[in-house]
Amino acid sequence: MTDLLAFSRPEFPLFVHVLGAMVLVGAVTTAVVAQLVPGIGSVDGDRMRRFSFRTLLLAALPAYIVMRIGAEWMYSKEFDSNSDDPTWIGIGYITADIGALLLLIALITAGIASWKSKNRLGKASGIVAAIALAGWIVAVWAMSGKP
């Protein structure tokens, strides 16, 4: 496995994939915390919903696209499309595809919550984004440990 990491991997696509994924995790974490914070104390809910929506739109979505381009680029270089994929690749694809759907749902609901000042919809957006985030953390574990 270490030989695979050190010598034969296409480094640049891996760099693009990992950097995109890291920014995605940071951006979605920010959006989740911002959406789930408004219930605490005197924090302005409208401001936090707008902040969360903008974070998802301007940071998380572009980062997801970069992560996915890096993944496809690396896959095309490393794997034969006719061969069976290892388990960790399957975990990566499942979490990426379901995560994309959840990210879009979270983005749309965050946008509506911000526009219409809907607190519960904002919280729902935060919870959906948190589920996607949990899946991506599992993907990071699978991609690095390769079970």
Binding site: M1, F15, M48
Partner: protein, 158 residues
């Protein structure tokens, strides 16, 4: 998965926590750029708390599991050039990040105090959340972490 796979996993997850935290701080810096509003800063300081936890866990996890991995794997040694470079870059990045955090944290606490007291604006807050020493420290720290990532992926000399 053997022990080395688990150590690698925890090392990579720690790196995600570290870079994720830096992204959280960048998003906050951009969102609060040039503001003098104490309530705006105070509301986002709550988001920074998770960033502070993640940066601590990520910084410690990357170095502990990274060095453990270099000792545990036969292919690499702690005294390999690219490993030493990563450790030096990590130490400098952590110190720069600590300085940025101290400046931003101080301004954030000041904003929370003033906001609670009913003061709407603060020149100190505006100065810190603009082109200040704090953003320079954070930018330098981020650049060094990016270099560590490049070093980890390309492994020059390995």
């Amino acid at each position: 998965m053997d022990l080395n796979d688990w150590i690698l996993s925890l090392h990579v997850l720690s790196a995600f926590a570290l870079v994720g935290a830096m992204v959280i701080f960048w998003i906050m810096i951009v969102a609060l750029w040039g503001t003098d509003s104490t309530s705006r800063v105070a509301s986002l300081m709550r988001v920074s708390q998770i960033g502070t936890v993640l940066v601590s866990v990520g910084s410690l996890g990357t170095i502990i599991f990274g060095v453990w991995l270099a000792i545990s794997l036969d292919a690499y040694q702690v005294w390999d050039g690219w490993v030493i470079a990563a450790i030096v870059l990590w130490a400098v990045a952590v110190e720069l990040g600590r300085r940025a955090g101290k400046l931003y944290g101080g301004a954030g606490m000041e904003a929370e105090r003033l906001s609670a007291a009913g003061t709407e604006t603060s020149p100190v807050v505006a100065e810190t959340f603009g082109a200040s020493r704090a953003v320079q420290f954070h930018a330098a720290s981020s650049l060094l972490v990016l270099l560590i990532l490049i070093d980890m992926i390309w492994k020059p000399g390995a």
